[in-house]
């Protein structure tokens, strides 16, 4: 694990020394503050819309951070040729994949904490109360979801050479999974036949990222999710991430690295 954490440390340093993260945070903060200061239609329930917008911005920004950070890791190592002195040391390719994953995932976690802290301060000041249990559940499940996203993008980065094409493809796939993944079974039921069976298989095969999205619960102040459901989602997320990372390693270990 020593090598994995050493590699992860470099990824985290990269995140806080680049400007993209700060730009996204400032953008989210500005948009939320501007919307929060507006008094639209004298609606006292405006804070609900504010919550929705702020959470949507947090989700979009976190996905952008996770995808762009993970997509460039291995291609950038190859392009700048730092992969050669690195793998010329006692580092295995599995450790390289693992280190990049842990680094990206921790970096996403740090960003999430900052975003949600900001959200907590804004909503707490407007609503004069904050339901802590669903709030922490939302942060945790969001982070687990970003684990799957990071693993998926790392898998893409060993398949596609260009980080930009990988990031674009992954962004489309992830948005598709978030918005359409949950309806695939209904579509399958409507189609029937072989196509329906394929769509059903796809429904069970794809990672269901919507399991991790509990924005509605915190927006509408519903009761928190049961601990069992959170544990189940965590296990589901962990298994999916491990599966995707194993797939990435399986492809990467066979690749000849030529200078």
């Amino acid at each position: 694990m020593n090598n994995v954490f050493a590699l992860a440390g470099v990824v985290i340093k990269e995140l806080y020394r680049r400007k993209d993260f700060y730009v996204l945070f400032v953008l989210t903060a500005l948009l939320t503050l501007i919307l929060g200061s507006a008094n639209i239609f004298n609606d006292e329930q405006i804070v609900r819309y504010l919550k929705e917008i702020c959470l949507l911005l947090i989700w979009v920004c976190s996905l952008v951070i996770a995808i762009t950070t993970a997509a460039r890791q291995i291609p950038a190592e190859r392009e700048s040729r730092t992969i050669f002195p690195l793998l010329a040391k006692p580092v295995t390719r599995a450790q390289l994949i693992g280190g990049k994953f842990v680094g990206c995932w921790l970096a996403c976690g740090i960003s999430l904490l900052l975003f949600y802290f900001f959200y907590g301060v804004i909503i707490g000041s407007r609503e004069h109360a904050l339901a802590f249990t669903p709030y922490f559940q939302a942060v945790w499940l969001h982070w687990i979801c970003l684990g799957i996203v990071t693993a998926m993008v790392l898998l893409g980065s060993v398949v596609f050479t260009a980080p930009s094409s990988n990031a674009t493809i992954c962004f489309i796939v992830i948005i598709g999974l978030l918005f359409a993944g949950q309806y695939l079974n209904r579509i399958a039921a409507g189609i029937g036949g072989v196509e329906g069976a394929i769509t059903y298989a796809l429904y069970y095969f794809i990672p269901h990222l919507e399991f991790f999205d509990i924005r509605k619960i915190i927006v509408h102040n519903h009761a928190p999710v049961t601990a069992l459901a959170v544990e189940g989602a965590t296990l589901y997320g962990a298994l999916y991430s491990v599966f995707l990372l194993a797939l990435a390693w399986g492809i990467f270990r066979r690749k000849a690295l030529t200078v």
């Binding site: 440390g9 700048s80 050669f84 006692p90």
Partner: protein, 251 residues
């Protein structure tokens, strides 16, 4: 005497990218044995198979057949790389780190204890003359300084074997001289150095033995003095003869 580096019947073939194309034979039946304390020059024109051989030694490419070992350990095992230092040709190190952070990162990989790590970083920075720039981001370095960062990272674990791929490539005469001095110093410390270079004058100065590779095959191997005596000319002329180059008469 045990060989530090041993290559036996090494053959590396790269499959063609298109289905009907012929595969490319990069290294064909290479045999080499390098003893401890030797400075070994690995020569050949571009495309001769030098870098491919180095890639096999470092585990980047698997051989098609044959074997290679470092300190008796198969090169495919990561532990074989515990006692080696590698300097690739023209690498652009993490530009968001400074040299000290970069070396600390590599030292952690070798599990060098914290106290020893800081001392080791100070020692290699002194050796490559980058002490004054240790806190500066690598992206602000000149090409020569970047190459010295490369040398520093290759030496961070105090390796017993150094593999250097064209260490003086792109350096000015002063930079080349400094790298040569470092190699000489390492030799004096009893380290084994295996390096490829196109600077044949430099090879003649620092190497004990050389091997010349051409079209994937080993053409000549021997002690530098013995070769100079045998061919009665300098290393550059020997090299040109071996690869079959004949100078055109000037009109």
């Amino acid at each position: 005497m045990n060989a530090v580096l041993e290559i036996a019947d090494l053959r590396v073939e790269f499959p063609s990218r298109d289905l009907r194309g012929k595969s490319k034979l990069a290294v064909d039946g290479l045999n080499l044995r390098i003893q401890q304390g030797e400075v070994f020059g690995f020569l050949g024109p571009n495309g001769a198979g030098k870098t491919t051989t180095m890639n096999v030694l470092l585990g980047f490419v698997n051989p098609t057949s044959g074997s290679a070992s470092i300190f008796g350990v198969d090169v495919r095992k990561p532990i074989a790389r515990q006692r080696i230092g590698y300097l690739p040709e023209l690498t652009y190190y993490y530009k968001f780190l400074n040299t000290e952070e970069l070396l600390r990162f590599y030292a952690k990989i070798f599990k060098i204890p914290r106290a020893e790590r800081e001392q080791r970083i100070a020692d290699v920075l002194k050796l490559v003359e980058l002490e004054g720039a240790r806190k500066r981001l690598i992206k602000t370095y000149s090409k020569g300084m970047q190459q010295r960062v490369g040398l520093a990272q290759a030496l961070i674990n105090n390796p017993d074997l150094l593999i250097l791929d064209e260490p003086t490539s792109g350096l000015d005469p002063l930079g080349r001289m400094k790298v040569r001095e470092i190699i000489q110093r390492l030799k004096d410390q009893g380290k084994t150095v295996f390096f490829s270079s196109h600077e044949l004058g430099e090879v003649e100065t620092v190497c004990d033995r050389v091997a010349i590779l051409h079209e994937g095959r080993l053409r000549v191997e021997g002690r530098v003095e013995a070769l100079l005596q045998q061919y009665q000319c300098n290393l550059e002329q020997i090299f040109l003869k071996i690869i079959g180059y004949s100078a055109q008469p000037s009109s």
